[in-house]
Every structure is written in structure tokens, then in C-alpha cells.
Symmetry: D2
Subunit: 401 residues, 4 copies
């Protein structure tokens, strides 16, 4: 028995569809592992779970089944009939693995999507249902380890204070049914940790990995990490910012304009949800530069683009003798296809961490996130080095062991 389970919060979304499509394609030999970070040679000795052996499930608040979503996604990004057949085959017996989700206190934009949301009983009951879903999933699929990955629409930011700062506070909020204090993302993270499943927050929703949750993970021996998968504009920024720093060129302005047309874009079109994303994206520049140039990140919903995220960045900088110069870049990538292999990587590395007995924040995964928790390393390169050093250390331990 060697199967790994992966449960998605937001299992009817494009990223989930892309992961399902990718795993099914890999199983059929229709594609290669391009885009998977863990294919680097440094990971080869670590016996990471194979994507072909993963079982997928999850929750959604929308009606669409995982197959329907995958169908729409595949059509949208022109992946072809073969991939669709591969997914259908792979999901044939799996509909039971997809559960009704909750949209508790997620804001109007998300609630408007909630055609399939479960009714919202007492928080304790919500938590109990989610835990029972996980247990059910693990049992029915006979998986050793299950990982929960949050791919759901971005929630509005929540104020992190009081009860969210400690495990006790969180449990009290459950007992008192304080729906004003937590969001759905908090519930999923809590259920996950309580079931001993590593939890990865691929979204900017800050309700998930609040300090109380991270502490609980540390205490119960569960690895967790976030926030916000780094797939496009911020990836490029974290590669480029050190160039300006090491050349002592002063960034005057760095303006970023993002357009996307998928569900992520749709929800981000609502100011309160966009807020979370922009906080997550905006944080990088001053931290990485050490000073704060004029900078704003803009996100716009352009339906015709669908999953093809297009970002233009304009960088105005000052060189020797005060000369002003500019750099621009345009990034045109399929958002979910860029995310999918990273989600698989994160599942693999979470299982590894669990096996190795790690608990709390997996800071070695900083390079995967726009706003990595618990680590003050902002250059992509330095973040990647953390990962490689971790892989080397883990490989050496195995050899030593």
C-alpha cells in the first residue's frame, strides 16, 4: 500500500482540474513532468510519492462535478480529447471523493457561487463534517497519507487577533460558534491538522494559517505551509528584484498590471477579495529591496482571457548620475497549468515532511509562495537554495540512516 491522497479545497476549480488532467495524462504517458520542481536531480533519492499513484478528492461549494470542471478547463486551454478521456477514466469511480464544501463567512462574491454549499450549521458541526470527510476519503481509498491543499477562491482578509492567536482561542471560537471570527479557510485548515494531514495554503486567504493554527500544527506534529502559490508575475519579480539590488540600481516605481479571466479573476474583481491578493503580492517589493519605491499591483478581470493570465510590469529605475531608465515585462501564461505541477510538488514535499517528523511551517518551501510564512528570504534564488539544501540534507540522512 503506497498511495497518497490529495484533497482540494475548491475541487471544481481550474487548478484542481489541471492537477487531475496532469496526473491522468502522466498515468497515460501523454505528457512529461515539465513544470514539476521535484524532478530536479536533488530529489531523486527521496522516494517521493509518484503523481501517478495519487488519489484526488476534495470539497467545492459549486454544483459542477470534478469531471464537468475538467471538461470545461480542457476545452478552455485546448488540451485535446485524449486528455479528457484520460481524466474520465481516472475519475470513473471517484465521484464519492468529492464532498460538499462550506462558504462560511467568505464574503458575498464567494457566497454568490455557492450553489453546492452545505448548509451552515454550528461551527463545531462544520468542523466535524470536514474531519469525517477526510477520514472517509482516507479509508475508502486506503491511503497512507492525505494532504489538504487550499485552492479555493480568495477570501477577504480577516483581522488576525484574539482567538486566532492560540489553539485554545480557535477551539473556543468553534464552541461558541463565532462565525464572525473565522472563515471557511480556517475550518478546513483546522480539520486537516486535527486529522493529521499536512495542509498547504495555495491561496492568499489569511484565515487559514493563523498563528493559533500554526501552533496547533507544531504541537500535533503536522507540517503546514503557505501563503499564495507563486506562479507568474511575483515569480518573475522575485527573480528580477535581486538584479537591481546587486547592481545598486534604485527602483523608483514598479507598477504591475494583471489581467485574467478565470474564476480566480472573477472573484478577485470584488474589491474585498482582491484586497487579500494585493496584500500578498505587494508585500514582496519593500521587503526584498529594503526600501519602498512607488508601487502598486493591479488585478483586473478580463473574461475573454479565461485562464491565460497576462501581466505587464513597468519598472522605472535610476542609475549612475541620476539617469532614469526603464524595464518592462509581459508575462502570458496559463495560470492553472503553471500552478498544477507546483501543487503536485507541494503534496510530495508535504508527505516527505510528515514522514520526516517535521511539524509546523515548512519554511524550506518558501520558493513556492508569494508570501512565504516564517521565513525572511525574498529572492527566488535564495529561496530555491533553501529547498535544495533541504533536499540534500534529507538525502544524506536517508543514506546515513
Amino acid at each position: 500500500m503506497n498511495r497518497t491522497g490529495v484533497l482540494f479545497v475548491g475541487s471544481s476549480g481550474y487548478i484542481s482540474a489541471a492537477v487531475l488532467a496532469g496526473a491522468a495524462s502522466l498515468k497515460k504517458g501523454l505528457c512529461q513532468r515539465t513544470g514539476m520542481v521535484t524532478e530536479a536531480k536533488e530529489f531523486s533519492a527521496l522516494s517521493l510519492p509518484e503523481p501517478e499513484d495519487m488519489v484526488f478528492g476534495g470539497w467545492d461549494i459549486r454544483e459542477a462535478t470534478a469531471i464537468q470542471s475538467a471538461e470545461r478547463f480542457i476545452k478552455s486551454v485546448n488540451l485535446g480529447e485524449e486528455v479528457l478521456s484520460a481524466i474520465k477514466e481516472s475519475l470513473a469511480d471517484n465521484e464519492a471523493d468529492f464532498y460538499k464544501g462550506f462558504a462560511t463567512n467568505c464574503g458575498r462574491a464567494i457566497e454568490a457561487l455557492a450553489s453546492n454549499a452545505a448548509p451552515e450549521p454550528h461551527l463545531k458541526d462544520q468542523l466535524r463534517k470536514l474531519r469525517s470527510d477526510i477520514a472517509d476519503f482516507k479509508k475508502r481509498n486506503s491511503v497512507d497519507e492525505a494532504v489538504v491543499v487550499n485552492l479555493a477562491s480568495t477570501e477577504p482578509p480577516i483581522e488576525v487577533s484574539g482567538p486566532l492567536l492560540t489553539p485554545e482561542g480557535l477551539f473556543l471560537a468553534m464552541d461558541d460558534d463565532r462565525k464572525d471570527l473565522v472563515r471557511a479557510s480556517t475550518l478546513y485548515a483546522l480539520a486537516s491538522v486535527l486529522e493529521g494531514c499536512p495542509y498547504v495554503n495555495f491561496t492568499p486567504s489569511n484565515g487559514a494559517l493563523v498563528p493559533g493554527l500554526v501552533r496547533l500544527a507544531e504541537e500535533t506534529g503536522v507540517p503546514v505551509m503557505g501563503n499564495d502559490g507563486k506562479t507568474g508575475e511575483t515569480l518573475v519579480k522575485s527573480a528580477l528584484i535581486p538584479m537591481f539590488t546587486c547592481r545598486n540600481l534604485e527602483v523608483l516605481s514598479w507598477e504591475g498590471f494583471n489581467m485574467l479571466g478565470n474564476m480566480d479573476g472573477h472573484v478577485l474583481d470584488t474589491p474585498e477579495n482582491r484586497e487579500s491578493k494585493i496584500i500578498s503580492k505587494d508585500a514582496l517589493l519593500p521587503k526584498a529591496l529594503g526600501y519602498a519605491p512607488h508601487s502598486r499591483v493591479h488585478i483586473h478581470y478580463v473574461p475573454s482571457l479565461d485562464d491565460q493570465k497576462t501581466a505587464w510590469n513597468f519598472i522605472h529605475f535610476k542609475g549612475f548620475m541620476g539617469a532614469k531608465m526603464t524595464m518592462q515585462f509581459v508575462w502570458q501564461g496559463f495560470d492553472s497549468i503553471l500552478a498544477a505541477p507546483l501543487v503536485i510538488d507541494l503534496a510530495r514535499l508535504s508527505v516527505l515532511a510528515k514522514r520526516r517528523g517535521e511539524a509546523g511551517l515548512m519554511t524550506q518551501l518558501a520558493s513556492f509562495f508569494k508570501a512565504p510564512l516564517g521565513v525572511e528570504v525574498h529572492s527566488l534564488h535564495d529561496q530555491y537554495r533553501l529547498l535544495i539544501e533541504y533536499a540534500n540534507a534529507a538525502s544524506n540522512e536517508r543514506v546515513a540512516g
Copy 2:
């Protein structure tokens, strides 16, 4: 007495003008050290020579005096009257420091510029004149150390074999007046090393740091380094390539289009000279990626741009499930203003190396060059780390000493 001398091959060019303008502006407090790499805190304990204390001279084959060139440059990049006055004052007593240069075997494009070239006697006499110029410059300006930096127009590539492989071969070529085997750049480098001056090749001309020359530098205790200052497109490439590698994204095509309108662009408009540049720029991609995507670097002369180099790069890459995506960037920078602070950095670091008793290739300077000699580190970030580690080691030695 604590003055450092800097001699430019190509002293009437834009980069030389930009260095003169910068140093004079710094002396007058008209600008700051933005763009100088050695301003990072890691260098602060190393007592590097101050740009304000540098004395400049050099050779050119064109009539224009250094002041005339600086005048044209300052007008071209709109630096203003104050900077011009500062230069004029700073060069007032200095015309004697600028010598007639040689264009020996430099190809037609460069020979066509040679209104001020010295007649070309026997190679031994050319070498003798250059050495005597250096000695004269050092004496008249009472400088401790002088550094020679090659900023001249790009020569056509030369075949590196036979006599160029050993010091003895080089000397024999001098004795036999083999003008077919060497180029002007070889003579300057040879004169420099024989006079004990560190030599930096900021151009792609491969006649300068041939193996015989590097060996001679090693044997005589002189630090040297090259090739080809990394100021724009290649700088960005060396920062971006590792991003694709660490995300396991396959680069399909990387096409680079450079336009510039200064003298550098003019000479590069001649195919044989452009050849050297393109070899230097093209080398990076396959080395850094580990495989060779479709890639060509193009350089075009667009006079209206003058010093404002504009480069467009188009990157086509493949992600998960074979999805093709693109990234583009546009770089618009003043070529000589980007180069000037690096030239000052290289002079400072060459003096440091000389003081520390280093000889031969200064591989710690890899980050400054498009095609760094003697080092197989291609990511900007890793190259910069070499530099910082060197600075830290040198600082520790000083403390220890």
C-alpha cells in the same frame, strides 16, 4: 600619496566620457554612487580607492579630445551644464594623459575611425610606445597603481592558437612583427601586464586575454579579467534563466533583439565585428540552461537612439502538459551610464586584487562580465555570491591581519 590611475583603451568613447563625467560629478557632489556595486556594505572595510581620487588617461585612435567627447556625450544623454563644467575643471591640466592609440589589425570598421591612430611601426616598437605611455602617465600623476581598462570598439574575433597560447609565443610574435597574428587589443594587454598594471577587458574582443597573456599575468603577479561588461540584456538574462531552470520550465526559443545608436552600435553594424559580440552574448543560454533552445541574439544600429540601448527579448517556453507560454521584456537603458559605475568598480577591485597579491584571472568578478573567463558560474545570483564571499574573506583577512 594615494592616487589610483585608470587608463582607458578607447578614451574618446562614450563609456570613458561617462566615467569622467561620473567621477567629476562625484567630486563636486552633483551625484551619488548609485550603480556602483562596490557601495554594498560588504566592501566598506576594504579601503577601496575612492573614485574622487582617481586620475584618468588613456589612448584613442580618434581625433576628438576627451573633453570634446565628454561634451558630445553629456549633450546626448541630457546630463546638463553643471556636469560639463565639472568635467572641464577636472580635466583642465590633463590633456597630456591622453595618448595616440593603435588600430593594428582591427578590421576595416575600426580602421575607418582611425583619424588619430599612431603610425604602425614594428610590433616591438608599438609595444614599447604603449609601455612608455603607461610609465609616463604613472610618473607625471604620481600614482601608486594604474589599471588599464579596454573600452575600445569591438574587434573581429581572432583565432586563438599557436603563438597566442604561451607567453613565449607572444613575445616571438612581437619579435617577428607578426601583425597577422595579434590585434591592437593584444598589444595593450601585453603592455599593461608588463608594466605591472591590472588589465580589464570590458569588450568582447578576444585578442586581449588570450591564454598566453593570462599565463604571463599569472607568472608576473598581475591580476586580469574579462570579457565583455554585462550591462543590459545579458544582465537580465542571467537573472531570469535560473527562474526557468528552478521551475523546470523548458525554454523553447529565446530571441533577443538589441538596438543602439552610439559608436559601439556603429562598429557592431559591421558583420565581422558583430560576430565577436554575438559569440559573447550567445554563449550564456546553453551554458546556463544545460541544453540549447532555439536562440539568436541580434544587434542593430539605429542611430536615432544614440546611447539609449533598447532590447526586446521574446521567450517561448513549455510548461506542464506541453502548454506553450511566453514572456517578453523590453530594456531601455543608457548603455554607457550603465557601464560607467561598473568600470569604476572594476578599477577599485583590481587595485584591491593587486594589493592582495593576486595574479591571473580575477574569477570573483564573474558577475561583471557577459562571458567571464575561468569560471563556470552563469546565474547572476551565484556570480554575485562569489563576489560577496570574496569581499567577506578579504575583510576578514584585514581584520585578522
Copy 3:
């Protein structure tokens, strides 16, 4: 006697400074008429007033004198010392021509700038002051004709109804001191028309050319035109949109991102003021295409850019068999330098119209405006044809006459 007076609302702004700099430079032979539309051969027989013979004056609510503003502008766009001397000479005896302006009901962003605003007495008195300024200017400078051009910061949009629909309504609003119904721009336009001066609204402020004002202009024989000078992004759009139409390519999305750092940008950073601009810029697309694709125009204040407006437009379109394709453009232009020659053109053509006895909207000037009044021609080319046909007709009349 053959001098033309030009009075600017916003005489301390960058566009005013650029016009003053341009006219002074032309007088000194420092530049040519590049950028002036009326230099086309079709205008050569029309004896248009020469820019060298124009006298400039105007109003501002800021302290800065015209010379101070010009100084700042010239420095900002690197025009050099010679131009500054030319302006200083040209304005030497002219400070009297610059009057205190009003910021009546202009919104907080503009009022915050009003260090030099005149106190705001009864509307009738404000109107009287402005009329008296015009009369004073004309008399002191012995000009035949004076034209008023609104270059002031963009006001928030005003609801156009009731009293603004008729001349009578406007006068009543003056009598009743209804400061809630009109804005400063209305007062200037009214003063201008009542003094018989052609009035040009180069801004998007819709308070200026309200229906009552246009009717009054018709009745009193005064030519007027607006709104919003077309200098950059919208200029390109009006040239490109017909390409998509004539090829039957369906525009799916057209997103425009504008960044600028001058005072215009500063005021437009306030949402209520930006509103006016965006209305004016957004109107074009659906009118010109005949259908409304997804489209938003964004304006952002990026101080480091100063007058160098930078706009990125992303156009997503559908071709044969539903294939989706894209076009992008980047426009980098000095906003005020693009505007200045058009302002001179508009002054010349307004004087021509006055001489020819035209009254009301000068629809022949459609090509100069983002949202031309009284004309439903949206393609730049067709708009330009209106102008050329007008010039030809006027030339023929002169010959005939």
C-alpha cells in the same frame, strides 16, 4: 497690428509652459514646427496667425509664476538652458498678463492646490473679474483677437441639466450665485464667450461647454470647441480601431493602462476627477466599433515619470474560426510636449473660424479631441479628413473672394 492673444486657464501648468517654451524657441529659431498640424500644406494659403506673433497670458490658482513653472518644466523634460533663456526673454515684460484664477466648486483635489486662488465672491463678481481680465489683457497687448484655452486640472464631472441647458439658465445661476450648479470651468467659458473670444476646452471637464454655453456662443457669433485634447493613448486608439473594423475582426477586450507623474496625473489620482477623464477616454471604443467589448481605461499616478506618460494597451480580438489573437502597444511620450503644438494649432484655427464668421461648435476640429462635441466621426482618419476638407474649402473661398 497683427498680434493674437492666447489666454490659458491653468497658466502655471506644464502644457502652458510647453507652449511658452515652444513659442519662445520658435522665435529664436531653436526648434521647428514639428508636431503642429497646421503646418500641412493645405493650411498654407490661410494666413493663420504665426506662433511667433502670439502673446500669452492666463489665470492660475497656484502661486508659481509662469516663468517659475516653465523653469521646472524645462528641467523636467531636459530642454536645456537655451530654451529657458528664450522664455525668460519672451516673458520679461509679461507678468502682468497672468491673473489670479478661481477654483469655484472644483472639488477637493483642485482646491488643495489653490494657493493663489482669488477669494470667491458672488458668481456675478467672479464673472465680472474674468471678463475684465480678458479686456485688460487685450488692451495692454493691443491684440486683435484673443482665444481662451482651458488647460486646467480636470474637474469632477457635473450633472448637466436644468439651468445649464440654456443661456438664460446660465445667467440666472450667476444672478442667484448658484455655486452648486456650475464649476470654475463654466465661468471661464462664459467670460470668454461674452468677451467675444473663441474658447477651446482642452480638458475633459464637462462644466465648460454645457449646452447653454454652446447656444450662447452660437447666438453671439463665437466659435468654441472641445473636449479633451487627444495626445496619446486615445490618438492611437482612434487610428487603430478602424483597422479592426475594416478587417471584420471582433474586439473582445481592450484594456488601457496609463501612468503619468505630472500635476495632471496628481489630480487624476483623485477618483472624482479621474471619473471625468475616464468617461472621456472610454466613450470612444463602443462608438467607434458599433458594439461594446470588455474595456476599461485605467489612469495611475506614478510620480517618477513626471511628464513622460506611459501607456500600455492590450487588445484581445477574435478572427476567423474563432481564433483568439492579441495586439499590445506601449506609448511613451511627453504629455505636455505632445499637447503644446496642438494648442497652438487650436488657437490658429479658432482665430480663422472667428474671422470667417463661424459660431458655435467647430466640428472641423474633431481630430484634436478625445470626445469631440457635435460630431459623430470617431476614426482619426475621417476626423482628419474633415479638417483637410475644411482647410481646402476655406482656401478656395479666399481665392474666390
Copy 4:
């Protein structure tokens, strides 16, 4: 019987495949007429032949059948299975309509492709075969009118003099088997005109519509037109150039960089063939501007792009007071999908011209070509006006008749 025949020179190429795919899709209702110029209302009264009623055939020198080519094309641009089925059905009984072609004197790049070229007998026999193919095609398909459209790879430019200047010269060259004087494109054009078929040169090959051929067409009452379909970069240029002209902005440099990866790109990678294309593309700027700025058009073969042509244009221009500004655009379009509807338009309009008794150059079609013959109208807008005026005149005649 009301069928129109369309014969392609280069029937196994991507444009041919796109036309076949489009016509088949239209027949099945799978797509709309987006991209077809003749869908404008001005053409509605002209009873143009419907694309659904067209029969396609042609010649190729490559082995691939039309269906195989279409298959490859559809896969390459992700058009989906439905379109492929539609084509297969539509071509089911049609293989007989595709004939072996000639590559006579086409240069090495094209000859290297010629796996299916007919042996090259005496020119008179080649001409006879092509005429007989046309007659055969018309008879078997019972078509009223057949149009020949040249979509073949670009030939190297040919010197147009002597025998190519008159019909007599052409016939003499045939009689004397002067394979050095003509190219394959000349033969197809000659066969077409002699068979009374309108001929359209959608390529830049200048061997087709030489003066002798045009004269012959005039004398025999056959409409012809070319050269070089205008689908991308040049389309945009012809829309943008008039903007600079009408604003009196001086273009300093206009540099165009085109990348494409289809067979067109492959053949254009050979310098002698590229020469034809660049001549055709370069001609526009000085003609349309009235002066010649620095300008070069570059074409590069980037296989990974396949049919997705990507072009970057950089425009450097001068405005008032000598200020230099820039505009850039990036065009990303499927080359063949942009061309296909224009090919259908040209077939429709050629049949109309034939019916109307026109002979020689169809100058009304200027807007379709990069280098339109017989007409000095360079602005896209003016060219389009020619077309609309022609359509209106033709409609009025019909009503009158």
C-alpha cells in the same frame, strides 16, 4: 449551377488548409464569417459567391495531400476534432482536384521541398499541363468561374526586364524554354490568364504579375491583382503611419522584427527568398511617409511558434521642440487564420470583377496587399475607402441595371 472554383498554388500549405478548414466549418455552421472583409454591409447587394459554395483545388510540389496538411494545421492551431471531420467530409471526393506542381527556377530553398514536383519538361509543356489542369478542374466540378490564388512559398526576386515586359516576350520565353528568365509563379499566372481565370498573387514573388502578364490580362479581359497579402505587421503599419503624418510627428526610426515558425518562415529563413518579402514590406514606409526614416524589417524563423506570428515594432519619433518619444507594438496572430478569410474575399471579389467585365489590375483591392500594384494609396484607411466606393458603385450599377 452556381459554383465557384478556387485553385491554390501551394495547396498543401497552411493558408490553403485554413481556407479549407474555414469553408468546411462555415458549411457545418461551426464558425462565423469573422475576418471576412466582404461581410460589410456595402457588399450585401452584390450577390458575391458564397464560401459554402466554393470548390477548392490546386497544385503543390510537396507529397502531403490537402487532408494531411489540414490535419497538421488543425492540430497546430488547436482547432479541434469537429473542424477536422468537417474538412474530411468536404474533401472526401476531391483528391483528384489536387495536382502536381512545378518548382521551376524557384531557388534552392523551395526546390528542397519539392518531393511531389512534376518533372520539368520544356516550358511550353509545363504551361500546357497547368492549363489542362485548370480546364480539367473546371469541367469535373462544373464550375462557372475559377480563380487562381498564389499561396506558394516566396520565390527569390527576379529581375523584371526584357521579355517579361510584354506578352510577346513572355510567349517567346516559353517557346525558347528560357527557364532562366521566368519562375514557376510566372507559369501559373500565365496559365491562369490564358484560361480566363482571375489571378491573385497573395505572395511577394515578383515573377507572377510582371508587366507583360498584366498587359496580357488587360488584353484578354482577365482581372488580376497582387502583391503579398497584408495580414499582420504591415496591416498595423498602414493603419498607424497616417497618425504620425497627420500629427506632423517625424518618424526617426521604425524597426520591425517578425518571428514565425511555419513553412513560410522556414523558406524565408533563406536569404534570397527573404529578400522578396523584405522588399515588399520595406516599400511601405517611405512611400506612405513621403520621406525615408531609418527602417529595417527583419524576419526570423522560430520553429516553436509554428503559425503564431509574433512581431515587435519599435517606432522612434520626434515631436515639438525636438523631443524624442517612442511607440512599440507587439502583434501575436495566427498567420494563416488571418490570411484565410482574405483569400475567400479575394476570390469573391475577383469573380465579381470578372462578371463586371473588368480587366487587368484590380486596384480597388489595394487594402488587401502589402505592395498593391498600380495604385499609389498607402494608408489602410484610404485603401479601404477605395474598396467601399467600388462596392457602392457596383451596387448602384446593379440597381440601375
